[in-house]
Symmetry: C2
């Protein structure tokens, strides 16, 4: 009687109690043995957790053994998943429609009830959650800019959640706050800023990082905006390329600047911003009475992976006294590679940089950074000095209480996994990883030119790991260019993707862009991917699209 049900916080329902009592009787002997034994011996008594509920875990008295056993069993489940994800023989996904999952497949119910489940059932729920999810670590998952599963990064995440802390003050996160400082300095140095410049913060994703850059730029030119709002300012204009990420527009909408005041600058065939177009856009905007103040250049566009000409853009920004931001969310990783970092030449002239280590550097989601060249701006722009957090009469150097730099107040610890990966790989390890991903892209580019039925979306060798292409099924190969062919071709990628999802063998994205109908975009950011996977992808597209 001094067992589970007494410690349980939900003892009201008599059915639950009765069931528990039955189980208790059945397993009482076993439980006693477990409680007597040390944790190592305990491991041999699996699965004793089937009689326990969550209130038997720590911090309940005597919960140590159950906790250890529960987490060990969880580890076995996660390890099984990790090992399976690494095998090419396993599926990337096992697709089900929303209604199928909602109806409950093989007893997997998403619904929540008033009563607790046993730990045994919790572990079953964990297994099912992984089973019906998408295996983003699979070497043949090419669907997103973030992929792969770095085991050191994973270890970092597990530790982070165990520490369960918050980035607002040094007081509660001394080590993580200092790691953030170390990493930000490191990244600023790699961008090419000098030791006496550079500031920044880890953000929940690249869009928020880009939003920060506009926010700080606006404050830099018009500090009164903080108290008085946009109505006290002239009508500002933002410039970004037509291939840039939609977060620039989204940020302008959120910040009360209006998405129509984001002016889209034309790109060349390979997706790079054309400097003279930027210059003439700025002049035209001024003539319309707008006040240009911010230019976003992109290092690694989302679809083509293009790098804007940073030095030319910096010259123009300098000439017009505009804030230059570089959105290197995707392309920043290339700075780690001696072979590829020259593609970002001129980035050091930017006043702010977005860089997402969770993309090209393989850090688990989320890990995104905004770097600001001028120190103190971020703090001035965002601080409100809430006294319940940021007391000035603390016994340590309160400049380490970085929470007031942020707009989020409480901030998830995204830094540790990244720090740990850097320790484990060294800067050089990240460089090798980037090189490998770009080699895969080059291999795909070569294969596309050699194989029948494939057509490149743009002819130049890709600069990043994005490769864009159409698959032309045999029946379409003789068709002349024109609207009829376009209409048919537009449907090919979605139909192949549909079949891919049903088969679950591989996953790749597609989209239209400008006047170009749906094409595949393959991206490489998972260092587990090998050339054989590239071959497999092309074979699979051919196999699935051959009859279209």
């Amino acid at each position: 009687e001094q067992g589970c049900s007494d410690r349980c916080s939900n003892p009201s329902d008599s059915n639950i109690r009765k069931k528990e009592h039955e189980k208790m009787e059945k397993y009482q002997g076993l439980k006693e043995e477990i409680e007597k034994c040390g944790s190592d011996v305990c491991m041999t008594f699996l699965p004793c957790y089937c009689i326990f509920v969550c209130t038997d875990l720590l911090p309940a008295s005597g919960g140590e053994k159950v906790t250890k056993e529960f987490l060990h069993e969880l580890l076995n489940i996660l390890l099984g998943y990790i090992c399976k994800s690494s095998r090419r023989s396993g599926k990337v996904l096992d697709f089900h429609h929303p209604h199928q999952l909602k109806e409950g497949l093989e007893g997997f119910s998403l619904q929540l009830t008033d009563k607790p489940e046993t730990l045994e059932q919790i572990l079953v729920d964990c297994r099912d959650t992984l089973k019906y999810g998408v295996n983003t670590g699979h070497p043949r998952f090419f669907n997103q800019l973030s992929s792969g599963l770095d085991l050191i990064g994973l270890a970092g995440e597990w530790l982070t959640s165990t520490a369960n802390s918050n980035m607002f003050t040094y007081e509660v996160s001394p080590v993580f706050i200092l790691m953030e400082e170390v990493l930000l300095k490191k990244m600023q140095g790699i961008v090419g800023w000098s030791d006496d410049e550079g500031d920044g913060i880890f953000c929940p994703g690249g869009t928020i990082s880009n939003l920060y850059s506009i926010l700080v730029a606006r404050y830099y030119f018009y500090p009164e905006v903080k108290t008085r709002g946009m109505r006290a300012l002239p009508q500002l204009a933002i410039f970004t390329s037509e291939h840039s990420h939609y977060s620039v527009k989204k940020s302008a909408a959120v910040l009360g600047m209006g998405s129509e005041n984001v002016l889209m600058v034309k790109c060349d065939e390979s997706g790079k911003m054309i400097p003279v177009e930027l210059e003439s856009s700025i002049v035209a905007a001024e003539e319309r009475g707008l006040v240009p103040f911010y230019v976003n250049a992109t290092a690694g566009t989302t679809v083509y992976g293009a790098f804007d000409p940073f030095n030319d853009i910096a010259d123009i920004c300098h000439g017009h006294n505009l804030w230059m931001h570089v959105d290197a969310a995707w392309g920043g990783g290339l700075l780690m590679s001696d072979r590829h970092r020259m593609k970002l030449q001129g980035i050091e002239r930017a006043w702010s940089v977005t860089w997402n280590p969770h993309k090209m550097m393989g850090v688990p989601l989320q890990c995104s950074v905004i770097l600001i060249k001028k120190r103190g701006l971020l703090q001035d722009c965002n601080e409100l000095g809430a006294e319940y957090l940021f007391q000035r009469d603390k016994p340590y150097d309160v400049s380490y209480d970085t929470g007031d730099k942020s707009i989020q107040c409480g901030r998830h610890v995204d830094v540790f996994k990244f720090w740990l990966m850097w320790k484990a790989k060294g800067s050089e390890g990240f460089g090798s990883q980037v090189n490998k991903c770009l080699e895969n892209a080059e291999y795909l580019y070569d294969q596309l030119q050699r194989r029948t039925g494939f057509e490149l979306v743009f002819k130049n060798k890709p600069e990043h790991s994005n490769v864009c292409f159409w698959y032309i099924p045999p029946t379409m190969r003789g068709l002349p260019p024109g609207p009829d062919r376009d209409t048919r071709l537009h449907q090919v990628a979605p139909r192949i993707k549909h079949r891919m999802m049903e088969q679950g063998s591989v996953l790749i994205g597609y989209q239209p862009l400008g006047d170009k109908v749906n094409f595949f975009r393959c991206v490489f950011s998972n260092p587990a991917t090998q050339q054989e996977d590239v071959d497999f992808l092309l074979d699979e597209i051919t196999r699935l699209g051959n009859d279209l």
Copy 2:
């Protein structure tokens, strides 16, 4: 030779190579044995990982055994930490100043280098990181609104990071997207909204949730703001109480509305907004030419834990056609308790609600939700329809691609740990947890009145788990009220806190508020905390402050 160094991505440096070769020779025999054995046997050969680097982990060929062993060893470290955190005999923190940690304590170096470390060193780094951090799960950590370490929530986080996915589309996160839907509906029902209303999204923290509410409210009244910006709108005004969270002002600054257009409404002695003050503020603002559109009411203020009078505020909002938001980041958890949910009466009349399960419900950081009553607004307000993500020609119901509802684009999976905890506790389990925290607060409130040397900041019984008080050292007990006493009293809490940090035995926050000098704020959100911990806190304050 076919071992580690060949698979290593950083083979360039000859010193590293040499060291590795030496190690290889030394451990070759051991390694061979490990590679021959199954994983269970392998466990007996600890620590073989000392010869490996991260490139030996999965997905490297043959990396399965090393991976298992590495993660098992990590689990041992984390389990050791978890067990220790649950013990009262352990310290809450082991304080070091920033410069001490930066200099490197006992070989723990934060600096990052070009070369990789061995897995053995990585595990040492993990141990050190935990060692110098703050134990937020300790039953005597009262410093923040989030505390405790829920083991099921932790399991959820570990699985989430293993799945390493992103919330933008159903395609890559089918299960998590549906869990978000289930949880949002559940929470909307608990708030009191009908089945045919309610929308929402998980956000990176309560500040961002509050920001969302203002963003959506602004769009609801002035949809043109999305494209044209704030300059196309009249000068809007926001109302919130002087005790409310600073995120309302911060959001107004970010959104380009200006922090001075956030009008602070007076509170009564216990920190509740005074409805007639709200009414007169609205009228006064209108007379000044401002356009009121949004009122933030608070359920559980940050310092006092006060609940605003929601029905009165709702009446005023209804009369003036204003958006009513309830910031229940801290107080939302009380909705789970039959005993306490009446404190939020009238919340169902709000048009939006912020609710952070990572606070009162004990979900690991971060887990915050914005609920919006009117469906579709969130999507309309934020969508930009990026075609590389949100294709309309997908083979499933694309209304499940919820990413375009968000401002973040990529979104961390914060939902699974919460879902898993709900499964494990049931709604009732959360209710019991909340009740227990509030019982601790009542116990502290009683003790403060019984013990000598303590003074309550406000006389009423606390509504939430916040208890605010001064400690008056013996030498100050005879002093008459006035500036001299205030000056001295103002220094008491910081000095006691300083000593607390040095001792590491307990951690509690303090702050001034309005005309009140520094006082302690104790909050209870960790279900591991018992009455004995409350007694300990008061004993410790007395012991540390007795001579001041």
